[in-house]
């Protein structure tokens, strides 16, 4: 069946509602989701298969087989199998636990309940049992279970609202509307008879597109994205809705956007595998040399020795003997690729992960979340990141809009001054304004300037008008939830403004299509709403025309300052100038500003205008333009009221983090689903875009050629400018050669902003290179309006062509694909959606922890891992190659120098702990200095600490050491006699001398490699040495020999050998000769060519005596004077919906409702009665609407 599925390429999808038999024919995917890799039966084979794909593991199995052949076995089989099994088991256990958690999360999602129409009734069914073609019922605040076609809803005209944060990161509400023919099916019995057949596109990943037709009762209706509810969305503000499943499970657009899970390997991992292959080749070379040596030796000398050592039946010829020797040497020399390397690397990474988990400085108090390293295999990669791809909403910003300042009639409110008249920085401790006098105030709203409250209380007319405007001119919907007034706004900006007005005593309360009810300073006032002059992208403003209780007509307008200023009455000119200056000030602080204005209208003019308006609204041709002209006509000659400044709250420390990461030479690209203006604005406020940048290129072409042209132009401009500046640079080079400040100033910076639709073209094969080149020339890249898949494509593009380490950071489901595609995925946790965190490799609560993760943990990890590997290879070459040299003296017979026990234990016991301690605890520079000097990070990006050259050096070092280790004792031993005259040049003494020298030399060497000697390091280094001697004597003790005489044949050797002064003289000489050259090179290098690290270390040492002062991270000064006026959703407003009354509930809805609804509705009537008493002059629309719109509980009564 699976085979069939995969062969079957879906060209179009046919789905019939309520007919499983029909739909089953097509074998569509069911709604089960599977992200796990194994199940109980496949685990062992699949996991082992994966593990043996590692070159080293496979190699050790081959070795093991070789060791079982007695003719060539030069080492016992257990020396290899024990560590190998250990490696396999540890890795398997880790993989199994990882997969178990994936299973669990899958199961949790699959077992979510939803209501499905099966066999004539509504039944609760698990998500995984939902099938294509089923009709399911969704209730308010529920997740949509699959991609469904909206059939009908509790709201009029089949409308429903959804939040798509999980899909594209936007938190504002979107409206979806069912086909009018299906919108009155809101009844189970009617739905049961629904047998519509949908023919639509096959599953794809385009979130904003859907094409299909519905065939029902002989008619065809076309379907588009506006009628689809996609999996991952949340139903909001809608009591319930019914929908028909079109795509399920893995075929939903959300899952199609999720990219494939890849097994992530670090750069060092890959390098390590290459190096292991090299070592393997080297091993074969050595084997061939020694085998040839053996053949020659057997031919010339061995023959003569046959008398004492006859050939066995296998030794047919000298060549065959050489062949056997080859394999024997492969076994002996296998320790150049130590099996414990892989275990140790895993242990180190695990340790580093724990340090990340334990870091208090990455623990967020507010959300009580600590950083979590969810993958334990990528740590050192964190020290090599070159590109960061960041989401905006929820990652850089908190997605909270805060009404922070305003200018009313030329006076700025919102700043706090101390008693000397200095402006104070607003911190958490600053006292908030007390809004307790206002019963309707929202507790979450904070404002610090008391003067504004005073002004409101004193009924300053301008201030009152200001807030009245804010309470009236918007498209927010009000709702009651748990006894509180809750606003549902299209954009958080609007919500912030309306909430501000509410707290200052002008609470927007309820609206009908024709009225707006506001609670003004404790008094309910209802305004008649005559028109909403809605927002769009060209107008950049919205207005309302209202008639107040006194019957006065007024137009309220809010919008971008540049637009509003053009429309002002000449009488406002003075105020305009003051306000304009104040707006500059706001913009300088990174606030989003809006100008507010009003205009009194007279009745007749308004009547005429309304008639024109009604007429134009009905026009079909060119309606937009005509409406725009009409709107502008009435909006002319307004009087300025003031301006608002809204802070799009950045996450804490974002600008600092970004500038730090920039200094560390990390390129940050912002990939956001938001619109261009918002993204650019955030770019400015977090210092990614600056006024002093030479140019900000905006690519927004709609066709391939347009985009191509824009990209080319931008690139040419950069190149030509840089040529100019280069030339200038050359001229002035002599004068300012040392003046780095000057040089920095003339380095030109560029930024690139690209739109989603242009990006689609830019990512096409013929343009992607041009795009990438341009993007890499720019300091900052911002991609806006991008789909999740595009995010992944951008990451993939950089990954593919730049060979650089990429990191993606995001918080929502829309970031999942990018998180999975990049080398390292980071999820921002603590927010609602967990998808990003689940897909990520690291997670923490705030963006600013990224600098600590990269600059401290990442750099340390990379540094430690590099040193660890260098040392490990050095150590094993020094250890193993002694056998190579010995081969020339023992007739190439594969005789080992060391005791077999020493070979078994050397890597596991004698030398593992010190190097582990170094790999875990070493720090070249402490965390504070790591953060203070981000340029230290560059060595990781350039792969300076461990690369092929470094590997070559450390192997040569190891070889030299092995050479000295062998030949110094050789020189001494050929003539050595014990003090008591007995010969001491026997093989066992020689072996112990070399082994002891080796252990001492590598211990001294680890001492030189360790930069940070903690107590643990001391314990491990000294402990290992002590352990070596302890085990040496224990292994060669009489007792053990008595029990296993064949295994411990070295009995007494250590005692006799190490009591010799000459042996110690040899050991001392060997150690000195091995260490001094290295020490010399190190100190010369540190003195003549100190690296950045050396310098910082020096600095750190000299500062040690002083107390480490907490560096005062001053808020990066924003130099921008750019104004951004944006407080609207990027889509057309709800204005039309509101005035048409479509989104207002009608009695029809409640009649179709179940019983539960009637009980509260009787309460509403009581409320209405109460309220009608309280409200003075109201002109309501239909009683039904009134009844719905005043759906407020008693305690809201003002």
């Amino acid at each position: 069946m699976f085979l069939k599925c995969s062969l079957f390429v879906e060209k179009e999808r046919r789905v019939k509602a309520n007919s499983r038999e029909y739909n089953d024919k097509f074998l569509y995917a069911d709604n089960r989701i599977k992200t796990s890799k194994y199940n109980i039966f496949t685990f062992l084979p699949v996991n082992l298969f994966e593990q043996f794909q590692r070159v080293a593991n496979a190699y050790f199995v081959v070795l093991l087989i070789l060791q079982l052949i007695p003719e060539i076995s030069s080492l016992s089989w257990f020396t290899t199998i024990v560590p190998l099994v250990m490696v396999l088991v540890i890795t398997a256990v880790k993989d199994a636990t990882d997969d178990y958690f994936r299973h669990k999360s899958d199961q949790q999602v699959n077992n979510r309940k939803s209501q499905v129409l099966i066999r004539g009734s509504l039944q609760k069914e698990k998500w995984m049992n939902v099938r294509v073609g089923d009709i399911i019922k969704l209730e308010n605040n529920q997740f949509v279970a699959a991609d469904i076609l909206l059939l009908c809803s509790s709201e009029p005209y089949g409308l429903c609202y959804i939040e798509t944060a999980e899909l594209d990161g936007e938190t504002n509400l979107k409206a979806r509307q069912a086909l009018s023919v299906t919108s009155d099916l809101g009844d189970v019995s009617k739905l049961l008879n629904f047998d519509g057949k949908v023919i639509c596109e096959p599953p794809n990943n385009k979130l904003d597109k859907f094409t299909g037709t519905l065939n029902w009762r002989g008619n065809k209706y076309s379907l588009d994205n506006g009628k689809m509810l996609l999996r991952g969305c949340i139903l909001r503000n809608t009591e319930w809705c019914f929908g028909m499943v079109i795509f399920a499970g893995l075929q939903t657009k959300l899952m199609q956007n999720c990219g494939k899970t890849k097994f992530k390997r670090t750069t060092i991992d890959k390098l390590m595998n290459t190096l292991v292959l090299w070592i393997f080749a080297f091993l074969i070379c050595m084997g061939v040399i020694l085998a040839t040596g053996n053949t020659i030796w057997e031919t010339w000398i061995g023959r003569g020795f046959e008398m004492f050592l006859p050939w066995t039946k296998f030794q047919i010829s000298t060549v065959f003997s050489g062949f056997l020797t080859f394999w024997s040497y492969i076994i002996i020399l296998n320790t150049v690729v130590p099996i414990s390397l892989y275990v140790s690397v895993e242990v180190l990474r695990l340790g580093h992960s724990f340090f990340i988990n334990w870091d208090v400085k990455m623990h967020n108090r507010q959300t009580n979340t600590a950083a979590v390293a969810r993958t334990t295999t990528l740590n050192e990669e964190l020290g090599q990141v070159e590109f960061i791809f960041s989401d905006k909403t929820g990652t850089l910003t908190q997605n909270i809009m805060v009404f922070s300042k305003c200018s009313i009639n030329g006076t700025i409110y919102g700043d706090v001054y101390d008693e000397f008249g200095h402006r104070m920085e607003i911190t958490e401790k600053t006292a908030c304004v007390d809004f307790s006098y206002n019963l309707l105030s929202d507790g979450a709203f904070k404002f610090y300037d008391n003067t504004l409250v005073e002004a409101v209380k004193q009924k300053d007319p301008a201030v009152q008008e200001f807030f009245r405007l804010l309470a009236l001119c918007h498209t927010v919907m009000s709702e009651e939830s748990e006894g509180k007034l809750v606003y549902q706004a299209q954009s958080p900006d609007e919500a912030a403004l309306v909430t501000a007005a509410r707290n200052f005593g002008f609470a927007f309360w309820a609206r009908t299509p024709e009225s707006i009810t506001v609670c003004e300073m404790g008094q309910v006032v209802t305004y008649q709403l005559l028109a909403i002059l809605d927002f769009n992208n060209t107008r950049k403003r919205m207005s309302v025309i209202v008639r107040d209780a006194q019957g006065r007509l007024r137009l309220y307008c809010k919008g971008a300052d540049t637009i509003i200023f053009d429309l002002l009455d000449p009488s406002s000119t003075d105020l305009m100038h003051t306000t304009s200056e104040q707006l500059n000030e706001f913009a300088g602080e990174g606030l989003r500003t809006l100008a507010l204005a009003y205009k009194d209208l007279d009745e007749e003019y308004c009547d005429v205008w309304m008639k024109k308006f009604l007429f134009v609204s009905a026009v079909l041709e060119n309606r937009e333009d005509q409406l725009a002209a009409l709107y502008e006509e009435i909006e002319r000659g307004m009087k300025l009221l003031g301006a608002t400044a809204i802070e799009d709250k950045l996450q804490e420390g974002v600008p600092e983090t970004i500038s730090k990461l920039n200094l560390a030479n990390i390129k940050i690209w912002v990939l956001t689903g938001d619109k261009q203006e918002t993204a650019v604005n955030i770019g400015y406020s977090c210092n990614m875009l600056r006024d002093d940048m030479t140019d900000v290129f905006v690519v927004s072409g709609h066709t391939l050629t347009e985009v191509q042209q824009q990209l080319r132009e931008a690139k040419e401009r950069i190149l030509s400018l840089s040529r100019v500046s280069d030339a200038r640079n050359d001229e002035e080079n002599d004068m300012f050669a040392d003046d780095s400040v000057f040089e920095e100033a003339i380095i030109t910076e560029y930024a690139l902003v690209i739109n989603g639709h242009s990006l689609a073209h830019a990512l096409e094969p013929q343009l992607e290179i041009v795009f990438l080149d341009l993007a890499c020339l720019c300091k900052t890249v911002i991609c806006c309006r991008v789909t999740p898949m595009q995010k992944a494509q951008v990451v993939e593009l950089v990954r593919k062509h730049k060979r650089a380490v990429t990191l993606a950071v995001g918080d929502g489901a829309n970031d999942v694909s990018m998180i999975k595609t990049s080398h390292i995925g980071v999820g921002i946790s603590g927010q609602e959606g967990m998808q990003a965190v689940l897909a990520s490799d690291y997670s923490f609560a705030q963006f600013r922890y990224l600098q600590r993760l990269l600059l401290v943990h990442g750099r340390w990890s990379y540094f430690r891992m590099s040193n660890f590997l260098s040392y490990f290879f050095y150590k094993n070459f020094a250890f193993t190659l002694v056998h190579f040299w010995y081969g020339f003296f023992c007739g190439f017979s594969a005789q080992t120098v060391y005791d077999q026990w020493f070979i078994t234990l050397f890597n596991i016991v004698y030398t593992s702990l010190p190097v582990l301690a170094m790999g875990l605890f070493d720090q070249d520079v402490n965390d504070q200095n790591s953060l203070r000097h981000p340029s230290l990070y560059k060595s990781g990006q350039n792969n300076l600490f461990f690369n092929k050259r470094q590997f070559f050096l450390c192997t040569v070092h190891g070889m030299t050491t092995s050479f000295l280790l062998f030949f110094i004792p050789y020189g001494a031993f050929s003539v050595m006699v014990k003090e008591d005259g007995s010969h001491s040049s026997d093989q066992q003494t020689f072996s112990i001398t070399i082994a002891t020298s080796l252990v001492i030399v590598v211990s001294v060497q680890i001492g030189l490699d360790t930069h940070y000697w903690t107590a643990v390091n001391h314990l491990f280094v000294w402990g290992s040495l002590a352990m070596y001697f302890a085990i040496l004597f224990a292994m060669q003790s009489d007792g053990l020999f008595g029990v296993f005489s064949n295994i411990f044949s070295f009995v007494g050797a250590a005692r006799n050998c190490l009591s010799e002064k000459s042996v110690w003289l040899v050991i001392l000489l060997t150690t000195a000769v091995c260490i001094v050259p290295d020490l010399f090179v190190r100190s010369i290098r540190a003195s003549l060519f100190p690296t950045q690290t050396d310098k910082v270390r020096q600095l750190q040492q000299s500062c040690k005596s002083q107390r480490p002062e907490e560096q005062n991270l001053r808020r990066a000064r924003r130099t921008s004077s750019r104004r951004s006026a944006y407080a609207f959703s990027h889509q057309e407003g709800f204005g039309e919906l509101i005035t048409s009354g479509k989104n207002m509930r009608t009695s029809r809805v409640s009649s179709t409702c179940s019983y539960e609804r009637t009980a509260p509705s009787s309460k509403w009537i009581e409320n209405v009665i109460k309220r009608t008493n309280a409200v003075s002059c109201i002109s309501f629309g239909s009683p039904n609407k009134q009844h719905q719109s005043l759906k407020q509980p008693d305690r809201l009564n003002c």
């Binding site: 020795f305 020189g971 005259g981 010969h983 010799e1060 000459s1062 010369i1084 003549l1088 310098k1095 270390r1097």
Partner: protein, 352 residues
Amino acid sequence: MGKEKSKSGPLARRPDNSAFKQQRLPAWSPMLTASAVLPFFYLLALICMLLGVWLLLTVQNTQEMKVDYTEAGSCNLCFEMRKNVSNAGQRCTCMIMFSIEKAFKGDVFIYYGLRNFHQNLRRYMDSRDDGQMLGRKSNLKSPSSYCKPFDVDEKGVPIAPCGAVANSMFNDSFILTYYTINGPTVVPLLRKGLTWYTDKNVKYRNPKMDNLTLPEVFEGTTRPPYWQKPVYQLDPFDPNNNGFINDDLLVWMREAAFPNFKKLYGFLYRANKPFTKGLPAGNYSVTISYNFPVQYFKGRKEVVLTTVSWFGGQNHFLPIAYLVTSGLILLTAVVLTVVWWKFGKDGKNMAD
């Protein structure tokens, strides 16, 4: 971890603020700059120099005499004779004259030296049964397969001691004669105490006697094919130096690391004149019972006489190596000093 879970409140998941977990353990972080390592370099150079000089002086006071007797003098005949395997049973004795110009003072050790004899071949080294030589009865009767082809003879009788190592045991013997004015005097040699204590008492044991004589214990085994005498008759004079704990056997069984080696044969017995102070200068001869064939492997045999110092026999390698090392370290130290003086002293290079 359990502790953390039991915590509650807003900081429940806050990691411990301990020095270990925050990687703030107090630590010593030395910097290997020129100024830091210079004292060490000078100190090391000094130590090496002193040791080298001391060792050199010591070595000057030791003496060594090597007499290669492979084909020298009358041994030529024996050498030719041993070329033919069929003459293995025949005795051959030869004598070589040599003279000592300067008296050997103190203890004098006599060694036999072999050149080009590979005791360090893997198969050769493995070809022994430590269990058998520890006196295990079971191993005595059924030697380990490692001993092949010297585990059993043609009739299937187990060989004791089995294996190629024991089989190839060196079996020449020497008589040293000193020619005084009064005529030749045999130089008295001590042929005991040649081995490590552990070898004689721990590693090698004879099978349990249980009131039997040594030959009875070894009954049912046969001597190694190249041996002339069974293992229990190795020392005709001292019954306690027979079997698996015979000193010569033990010395041989301790395999040499390199193809050229010497093994202890005996000491000078200094109780009687004129040998109380060592070997006096004069003429000597060594009479060799020439049994061990070396021509197959192009080997050489020699007799070595030597005196020892506190760090062993005459060993020129160590003092010279120490002196050379000391010189090199001194050289690097001087280079480092110059570098430090020119660049690193004021820390200019380190400035950011």
